[in-house]
């Protein structure tokens, strides 16, 4: 080993926010190498990926459309992650939100009414919460690992949605495609910027960012979440209930993911399909970490990840690059971030010969 780690007396606050920037720079650098390796002009590819999507008004709207579910879910997940509750199944909770909220739209398909959309939103949130309640219950009652349970439920949710759109909820006039009927106007989120697909959901995401900040910085349960996450023994001594924090974290994450799912089907998609999310529930995990588990950071990280989705689509169209490049970029960013985070707690020094040899 040529380098060694020396623990800082206290964590570096500057590094907490610099680390994502360094990680982003390293990801871009690796992107250049990756593109060169694939025989694509790196400058052109980076332009297609990160600049071209934002050269139009429509593009900016799309950025917000894609960032909305990511930010919504990541704000809630980051609160759970702070408590050490690993809800990895947000993708499944998103699907259940879409099913429950979308179910209302299909149930009242022939009825117009101002109350339909609010009811859909409530049912979407409730659906996500119900799905997240399963790992919460099994964890608190039977000590079953919430990572594995929530993840298994994601596969179950995907199959359930597939069953519904292939079976009972399939549009009988839909040329036999596995899709539900298209939601009517009262069951669709209104667009708020002409010439784009930007919809009311983006405003909800911003509201959730603010609410998330208030929750974590100004409420008792937010304080309990932080204490249980950072010093479980102190939390127990103070009489905070770990059980309560687990329930709270999972229901919060499930509710937010359910809302995100409802927003997707009532907004950009407008009906139920076998696939309603390009993995927003998983990408939101990366967003939460890149955003430093802080609502404001999550907002920026969500926009960045949304750009990587748009960039993937634009690079596919203009350069014929596979869409999977997006996933590789997202994974690399998280790797580099986790590596750079060592700088928060440690300094890196060249190991001198006289120092104790690190094993």
């Amino acid at each position: 080993m040529l380098l060694k780690l020396i623990r800082r007396p206290s964590p570096s606050r500057a590094m907490v926010w610099l680390s994502p920037l360094i990680a982003l720079a390293l990801t871009l650098l690796s992107g250049v190498i990756l593109f060169a390796f694939m025989g694509v002009d790196p400058a052109g590819a980076l332009y297609a990926f990160f600049v071209e999507p934002l050269t139009s008004r429509y593009g900016w709207g799309e950025l917000a459309v894609k960032a909305t579910p990511l930010v919504l879910i990541a704000v809630a997940l980051s609160i759970g992650f702070r408590a050490g509750v690993w809800n990895i199944g947000a993708e499944g909770q998103l699907i259940l939100g879409a099913i429950c909220g979308g179910g209302i739209a299909l149930l009242f398909h022939d009825i117009e009414g101002f109350w339909i959309l609010p009811l859909m939103i409530l049912c979407g949130i409730a659906g996500g919460m119900a799905w997240a309640a399963i790992p919460a219950f099994l964890r608190t009652r039977f000590n079953a690992n919430e990572i594995l349970v929530s993840l298994m439920l994601t596969y179950v949710a995907g199959l359930f949605l597939s069953y519904l759109v292939h079976g009972p909820w399939r549009d009988t006039d839909g040329f036999n495609f596995p899709e539900s009927r298209v939601f009517n106007a009262s069951a669709t989120l209104p667009t708020i910027l002409s010439g784009t697909r930007l919809h009311l959901g983006a405003v909800m995401a911003l509201a959730v960012v603010v609410a998330g900040w208030v929750l974590i910085a100004r409420t008792l349960i937010g304080f309990q979440v932080k204490v249980i996450g950072e010093a479980p023994a102190a939390g127990r001594y103070a009489g905070f209930s770990v059980r309560r924090v687990i329930w709270f974290s999972l229901l919060l994450g499930g509710g937010a993911a359910g809302l995100a799912g409802l927003i997707e089907v009532a907004g950009p998609i407008g009906q139920l399909q076998p696939s309603i999310s390009p993995g927003y529930g998983f990408t939101a995990i990366i967003v939460a970490f890149v955003g430093r588990l802080h609502p404001l950071g999550v907002l920026f990280a969500g926009l960045l990840m949304a750009l990587s989705y748009l960039g993937g689509e634009s690079a596919q169209i203009t350069l014929n690059l596979p869409l999977a490049v997006t996933g590789v970029f997202q994974g690399m960013l998280l790797f580099f971030l986790l590596a750079c985070d060592v700088l928060i707690h440690y300094r890196i020094r060249p190991a001198s010969a006289s120092a104790v040899k690190p094993s």
């Binding site: 594995l148 179950v156 590789v328």
Partner: protein, 306 residues
Amino acid sequence: METLLPTLLTIITAATPLLYAALGEMVTEKSGVLNLGVEGMMLVGAVVAFAAMHATGSASVAILAGLLAGAALSSIFAVLVLGFQSSQVATGLALTIFGIGLSALLGQGLVGVAYNGLPKLPIPFLSEIPFLGPLLFDHDILVYGSFVAVPLVAWFLARTRPGLVLRAVGNSHDAAHAIGYPVLRIRFLAILFGGAMAGIAGAYLSLAYSPLWIENMSAGRGWIALALVVFATWRPWRVLAGAYLFGGITILQLHAQAIGVGVPPQVMSMLPYVATIVVLVLISRDQNKIKLNAPGCIGKPFHPTA
């Protein structure tokens, strides 16, 4: 009797990838490291093995390529977790997300290509025993490998010096370090072993189980393997039992779909995932049992100078 043998044979093919992945992860966890990246390593192992098969036509090269790909991916995890002190949970998730993306990227030109699968290697004389012969002695190399791997791993962990050191490191890294064992080096090797086994599991999927490449073809098997390790309470022979139990459930629901029991196919396909949850609950219910068997330092970072 007519249908029993084919059913048992398909259960073996369904159980083999789970067995490899879970056995590898168990050794990693025994050293005190939780690697949640099994799904990603399996997928990359699957696509690299399939690409190697496509390029060379040699099954042994393909298997080796899958093994190395899984190990290579796990080495990223090892460097981050051991060298950079990153969170094991977060890094493992990153590995899965990265592996899903990378495998989809690498597999671009391979969708739609198909092979005959791995050649069967019947063992002379033994394979001619009625029933038992075809059941146990007429398989491809990877199934034989999985039969051998379980006793080997069990023997390694229980009866060899390196195996005992590995368990000591997993149970108390501070004590192991104080005695002078190289904690980080042992963990690095254990992580590589887990990655290599996940790579082989992936190779089995794309070379033998369904000899083609489809994006996300592991379909959660990496996560089921993780659950199997808990189910097995970190014991190799129980990993074997668990893998065959889950292989059985997978095949059972496929057969039920084929017969047409009136349940929608999607609902039948939920069965392995639901069964995983049920099994996890049954095992985890008894906290003492988990505490007694789980490696003491699992998930905890180790810094030698701390």
